[in-house]
Symmetry: C2
Subunit: 160 residues, 2 copies
DNA sequence: TTGACTAATGCACTTCCATTGCATTCGTTT
DNA sequence: AAACGAATGCAATGGAAGTGCATTAGTCAA
C-alpha cells in the first residue's frame, strides 16, 4: 500500500491539494476496470463520484486549481471507453459526463435510463430509475442505441 | 409579381445560380410565417424542402457556391424562431435542421416525433409518424420538452 | 417617384471547445 | 539501475457558434 500511497500524496500536492485522500477503494476500482489509477484519474473519479449531476469538461477543469485540459479530456475519454462514465448530450451544446451506476453497461446499451436537463439551472441528472420505454421504429431501420432527454425544471428549480 | 420576381432573379445570379426558380409558393409561405422572403431565405427554404434528412449549417453552406455563413446562420435562426424548421440534436455534436411538417407546432411542444440518427451514413431523419410515448418523470420535476433520438442503421444502410 | 426608415446582409472578429503531435515525465517491470 | 510503455503537459490546429458594425436592400409613407 505504501508503495502506491506515498507518491500519490506527493502528486496531490502538485495538483493543488493538501488534504489526505483515502483512495484505496478508488484505486482498486479503477484497476478492476483496467484503468491505471494515476493521481489525476483518482481525483477526477472522486469528483465524479461526489456529484449528483453530470458535468462538462470545463466544469471539471474549474474544479482544480491546477490542471491541464488535455489530460482531463483524455482522462474522461479513458473513463468512457472503459465503461466508468457515460457521455450525455443534453442539447446544451457541450457534452456532460456522469459516473455509470454499479453494474451499468452503457457500452452494450442495456442501461437506457432517462436524462433530465433543467432549463433554469442547466444541471443534467441521470434518472437511473426511469428506463426508456419501448420505442417503435419503421421497418428497415435498426436501433442500436437510444438517447432520451427531458427538458424542463428540476426538483430544485420547480418551487414557486 | 414582376415587382418581386425580377430583383430575385438578379440576386440568384449573384449567389451563383443561373436557373430560373419558381418561388411564388415559397414567397407566399414565408410571408404567411412573418418571414420576409428574401433571395437567400428562399434558396435555403427550397434546399430544406427538397431534402429527406436534416442538415447542418456547414452542410447548407457547402450547397451554395457563394454564401456567407453568418447570413445562413441567421436565416436558419429566423426560420427556427418562426416555426419553419426545428433543430435536432442527434448527438453528433453539431445541430441539424429540418423543415417542420405542415401544421407542426414544435414551438409549443406538441409535435414530439422521434429522430433517427444513422451511425453509418450520419444522416438524421424525422420519423414524424412515430411520436414519443408517455414518459414518467420523478415527482417534483416539470417536463417542458422531450428529445428522443434513436441511433442505429437507417433503411439505406441496413442492407447486408 | 422619391426619400426615409427598418430589415437583411457580408465581413471581420472573438470565443469556446474538441482534438492532435510531440517532448517530457512517470510507473512498472526486468 | 536500466528500459520500456503509459500518462502527462504544452503548444498548436481546426470547427463551429456567436457578435459588432458598416453597407445594402426592401418597404412605406409622403
Ligand atoms: Mn445517465
Ligand atoms: Mn424532426
Ligand atoms: Zn434546475
Ligand atoms: Zn444510414
Amino acid at each position: 500500500m505504501f508503495k502506491l500511497l506515498l507518491p500519490y500524496l506527493c502528486f496531490l500536492h502538485a495538483y493543488g491539494f493538501n488534504c489526505y485522500v483515502l483512495m484505496n477503494d478508488i484505486e482498486k476500482f479503477l484497476t478492476s476496470k483496467k484503468v491505471r489509477p494515476t493521481a489525476m484519474r483518482i481525483l477526477v473519479f472522486r469528483l465524479l463520484a461526489q456529484r449528483q449531476t453530470a458535468i462538462t469538461l470545463t466544469n471539471i477543469e474549474n474544479r482544480f486549481e491546477k490542471s491541464d485540459r488535455t489530460t482531463l479530456y483524455r482522462t474522461v475519454k479513458t473513463f468512457e471507453e472503459n465503461g466508468l462514465v457515460h457521455r450525455i448530450n443534453d442539447g446544451s451544446g457541450v457534452p456532460k459526463y456522469a459516473l455509470c451506476e454499479e453494474g451499468c453497461e452503457c457500452d452494450i446499451h442495456n442501461d437506457l435510463h432517462l436524462h433530465f436537463h433543467c432549463n433554469r439551472c442547466d444541471e443534467t441528472s441521470c434518472l437511473t430509475e426511469h428506463k426508456i420505454p419501448q420505442i417503435n421504429i419503421p421497418k428497415g431501420y435498426l436501433a442500436e442505441d437510444i438517447n432520451l432527454v427531458v427538458n424542463g425544471l428540476c426538483d430544485r428549480c420547480n418551487v414557486d
